[in-house]
């Protein structure tokens, strides 16, 4: 190719070259101006048009909110005895996101402080369960020296942090564990529930949540409001300075109706027996004591229970973790009789004076099947009063037959049988109060008259929780008010320090003519006097006790067989049932007790009630002779 420009004749070569060069310089200049204009346009776009968005991003870069978890509310009993509080302790925590080899880091930490294999196991268990936390505890409760050692080596342990954490503590140990419940580490399910309730923000920085009991049902009140520290951080997340602070608001304090001493006496009285007891204030529905025995130490759960303890509790045939007071349902046995008698009076089926002649059994006309009384030869002539004092079964077989199952159901339902009481504790079951409608729902079989008869003595389909029986007993004691039982008596606002009572809640008021009630109460008082089924346990009480004993059959006994406690294995022995209120003339406490395989209510359950009443009414501390499982029952089958 030839050069583009032919030599011109007018100009010397040198000048021509200079002109040519200048053209190129102009070209370069325009190119440069264009490039600078492009840069300027881009800068205008970034710095003016998108300024607001970038400014916000810069602020987000620079500031972050550090949650400050609130102190959890304290729980005390009626007299200020602390049942749940908090204390601060150092923990060493790992940030899994910042650590490549967790095992190696754990080994590094173990060079500085003691890390047991159990600590490691627990860490990996927590790791597998929670995905929302920045850091997870490897070991808790570090001594000051241990915390200092970790802190001093922090530079070579990236992702390892020492934190001061608040821990929940239950200073009374096993006392009222089922009622208090416990807190445990939040898991994914807890977080999902919080997210659903729009509570997640308030739980930033919190790692424990109420799992059962009062801790669960009053979670929102106990937790409080999380505070935030607005800080300036650098690119490595180091805090430069605090910009603003919103203080956390501690959770409110709960005062319970519970009396810790009363509860302790009741729990000790259970000895080795399994069972439950509920004591209510019949004038308010307050829960004075709630025992489910055996129990457990809630402190085990706070820090993440280790698998050994967990298996021991979970696999035990005694089921210590189940709150029997509201989650176990038993047949009422003879404790149903006072309520049955009231039903008879209500529907005009019986008068108090009306008598029957008890041959020791009840039989339908033309049937050879005998519904046996507990006394093989019967009780002779029996009126309503005597039917309760001696616990005559034949009287109630007949009464049930005359009332019919649906009238029984309708009357007893008023006392709360077969329904949840609405107590402020989670997990309550409703039990069973049978009726034709109920049976139609669960079975294709029709209702048989024989089923009505055995329901009359609290057997058959009847199932009730200790709590329900206590609510019914309290209603009998106070003349017909069915309370919605409450554990929490009052709440102290943590901000104002002001205490206010939780309002008592009435489920319904049953119209019981005072004369009718008096007949039943008088009979129940005589139950505790010589000749009554609970006379032994109630002997010498300086106040009047109204009570009723019961036994709930665990295994069926065939027609011509005799019940021999000694011949039955322990777990097939009858449950002992007992209800009582006192003082009978001005009731202050109403109690229901079930003792699994306890035999007769008057023998094993009544002494517990007596100890509880003595303390509550007289402040008398019993010389502890806990009821213990007798090797051979001293009293045979007495109802």
């Amino acid at each position: 190719m030839k050069p583009s420009m032919k030599p011109s004749m007018e100009l010397p070569a040198q000048d021509r070259a200079r002109i040519n060069f200048q053209q190129r310089i102009y070209l370069a200049t325009s190119f440069i101006l264009l490039a600078f204009a492009l840069l300027l346009a881009r800068l205008v776009d970034t710095q003016i048009i998108h300024h607001a968005s970038y400014l916000k991003q810069a602020e987000n870069n620079r500031t972050s909110s550090i949650p400050i978890p609130p102190n959890r509310g304290i729980i005390t009993d009626d007299h200020g005895v602390v049942l749940a509080n908090n204390y601060s302790a150092y923990t060493v925590e790992l940030a899994p996101a910042k650590i490549h080899d967790l095992n190696a880091t754990i080994n590094d930490v173990a060079q500085l402080i003691t890390i047991t294999p159990a600590d490691k196991l627990r860490f990996f268990k927590i790791l597998s369960e929670s995905h929302h936390f920045d850091t997870l505890p490897l070991r808790t409760h570090l001594t000051d020296a241990e915390a200092a050692r970790i802190a001093a080596n922090r530079y070579r342990l990236p992702g390892v942090e020492v934190k001061a954490r608040l821990f929940r503590h239950y200073p009374q140990g096993m006392l009222a564990a089922h009622l208090l419940g416990y807190v445990g580490r939040m898991n994914d399910a807890d977080l999902a529930a919080l997210e659903k309730n729009n509570q997640l923000n308030n739980y930033l920085g919190t790692d424990h949540i109420g799992k059962t009991g009062i801790e669960q049902s009053y979670e929102t009140i106990l937790h409080g409001q999380t505070g935030f520290d607005q800080v300036e951080t650098d690119a490595n997340g180091h805090i430069i300075r605090s910009l603003a602070q919103q203080n956390p608001v501690s959770g409110d304090h709960l005062t319970l109706w519970l009396n810790a001493k009363l509860q302790a006496i009741a729990e000790q009285s259970f000895g080795d027996f399994r069972g439950a007891m509920v004591a209510l204030d019949p004038n308010t529905g307050g829960v004075l004591a709630l025992v489910s025995h055996p129990g457990f130490d809630p402190n085990l759960f706070v820090d993440g229970i280790d698998s050994e303890d967990w298996n021991q509790l979970n696999d035990s045939p005694d089921h210590p973790l189940i709150n029997r007071a509201l989650r176990a349902a038993y047949p009422e046995g003879s404790t149903i009789k006072p309520f049955m008698a009231l039903a008879g009076l209500h529907y005009g089926v019986r008068t108090p004076e009306q008598t029957i002649s008890d041959p020791g059994y009840f039989a339908f006309p033309g049937s050879s099947h005998h519904y046996r009384d507990w006394a093989p030869n019967g009780h002779g002539i029996v009126d309503m009063h005597k039917s309760i004092v001696v616990s005559c079964d034949t009287y109630y077989y007949r009464l049930a037959n005359d009332l019919g199952i649906d009238r029984m159901h309708n009357y007893l339902a008023q006392f709360g049988f077969g329904q949840k009481s609405g107590i402020d504790l989670p997990g309550e079951v409703s039990g069973v109060l049978p009726s034709r409608a109920w049976k139609a729902k669960i079975s294709r079989q029709p209702w048989y008259p024989g089923e009505t008869v055995i329901c009359g003595i609290g057997q058959g389909y009847n199932l009730t929780t200790p709590l329900q029986l206590a609510v019914a007993t309290a209603a009998l004691a106070n003349g017909g008010t069915v309370w919605q039982p409450q554990v929490v008596r009052g709440i102290t606002d943590s901000k104002t320090g002001r205490y206010h009572d939780t309002p008592a809640k009435i489920t319904r008021v049953i119209q019981i003519p005072p004369a009718d009630r008096q007949i039943i109460v008088d009979a129940m008082i005589d139950v505790t006097r010589p000749g009554g089924t609970a006379s032994h346990a109630c002997m010498g009480a300086p106040y009047l006790i109204a009570a009723k004993t019961g036994t709930a059959q665990v295994v069926g006994i065939r027609q011509n067989e005799k019940y021999h406690a000694a011949s039955l294995t322990m777990r097939h022995r009858d449950h002992a049932v007992f209800i009582a209120f006192a003082p009978a003339d001005h009731p202050k406490i109403a109690i229901a007790i079930f003792i699994e395989n306890g035999g007769h209510g008057g023998t094993t359950a009544a002494p517990i009630a007596r100890a509880v009443m003595d303390y509550y009414l007289l402040k008398k501390i019993p010389a502890i002779t806990p009821a213990s499982t007798p090797a051979t029952p001293t009293i045979d089958h007495v109802d």
Binding site: M1, T29, I32, L43, T46, I48, Y54, D234
Partner: protein, 366 residues
């Protein structure tokens, strides 16, 4: 014998004062920027100022070197550069996956840096020795001189530096009078071969280009630099956050904030207004430089100083384009503002050359 006074008078005649003034202003500005970017480290600023003074001295000395010396230096420097590049290819140290350093007995050097000066020098010398009318053969030889070191450096691989070396040589060829038709043809060819070039690129290079198009595709990796520098610039707004008040650099969100990304620090603290002034200063220096090269007495001087000014412009544009997100991330500092002694010395050496080529006697055509 020259008296002291006479020597200094003669020495001073080779300095271009408008250019010196603007360069001095830029250096002064850089002290403030470096003070802020280094989180207010006085030592750092003193170092930077020391290099600045040294560079100014070097510029004045270079301005006093007659053009003839440069002509004689052209071929040996170029040949040495090529030999060293070959040495690197065969026995260089591998750093970060590429072979850029050559270990000589006492020190390590990056021969590619030598080529940044040797390339325009060589081509300026080459066109200086040609006849007034250039043939296709001349351009072909020039292209060969340009491509040999470029490919060697690109092979290291150091694509950024290779392109900058190629640009400095290309500027000489264009200024020497590369016909418009060829220029247009080359542009077309370059555009057409872009898709082909894509396949030649290494993965990390492709990544940088993809990141430029969408920084959010890897916000903590490849996109981090560009996102943080955009935030720095953008949050500066019209007037900036004020000197020493940029949060992006002071809290370490901005990477390499004293070197390659120093422009973001400046833009965050002084805003669009400050950027406009900075751009004006650079434009002033470039236009003054072009004026000096246009009036240089001989072709060698015109081509060499023109290429140096255009290279200077290229550095400024590539750096600012990178920081503001219109060019991919390449490791090019902002001339005279970024911290770094050798880069500053090389730039000021260039300006000394421009001044000297303008003021020294015309070459005798050999």
């Amino acid at each position: 014998m020259l008296t002291n006074k006479h020597f200094w008078r003669k020495f001073a005649t080779h300095i271009d004062y408008p250019l010196l003034f603007m360069l001095f202003m830029l250096l002064l500005l850089s002290l403030f920027v470096q003070y802020s970017a280094s989180n207010e480290s006085v030592n750092h600023v003193l170092m930077h100022a020391g290099f600045g003074l040294l560079a100014l001295l070097l510029m004045a000395l270079v301005a006093n070197i007659p053009t003839q010396y440069w002509v004689t230096l052209a071929v040996p420097l170029y040949v040495t550069g090529i030999l060293l590049l070959l040495g690197v290819a065969m026995a260089g140290d591998v750093v970060n996956g590429s072979r850029r350093w050559l270990h000589l007995v006492f020190f390590r050097i990056q021969p590619s840096e030598i080529l940044k000066l040797a390339m325009p020098l060589m081509l300026a010398w080459f066109f200086h020795t040609r006849h007034a009318t250039l043939t296709l053969r001349d351009y072909s030889i020039a292209a060969l001189l340009l491509l040999t070191p470029t490919l060697l450096v690109a092979h290291q691989p150091d694509l950024g530096t290779a392109l900058l070396i190629a640009a400095s040589g290309f500027y000489v060829i264009v200024l020497a009078g590369l016909p418009w038709r060829i220029l247009a043809g080359l542009s077309l060819l370059a555009t057409a071969s872009l898709p082909l070039l894509w396949h030649v690129l290494h993965d990390y290079q492709k990544n940088r280009i993809l990141t430029l198009l969408d920084p959010s595709r890897d916000p903590l990796g490849a996109g981090y630099h560009i996102i943080q520098s955009s935030i720095a610039l953008g949050s500066g707004g019209l007037l900036g956050k004020g000197w020493l008040h940029g949060t992006q650099s002071h809290l370490d969100f901005l990477p390499e904030h004293t070197t390659d990304f120093v422009f973001a620090v400046f833009g965050e603290e002084f805003g669009l207004l400050g950027n406009f002034l900075l751009l004006s200063l650079y434009l002033g220096i470039i236009l003054r430089g072009l004026r000096l090269s246009a009036r240089a007495p001989d072709l060698f001087g015109r081509l060499l100083s023109g290429s140096i000014v255009l290279s200077f412009f290229t550095y400024v544009f590539v750096n600012m384009g990178m920081v503001s997100g219109i060019l991919p991330v390449v490791g090019v500092p902002l001339p005279l503002i970024s911290y770094g002694g050798s880069a500053m010395l090389i730039v000021m050496l260039g300006f000394g050359l421009i001044m000297g080529l303008d003021t020294h006697q015309k070459l005798n055509k050999s």
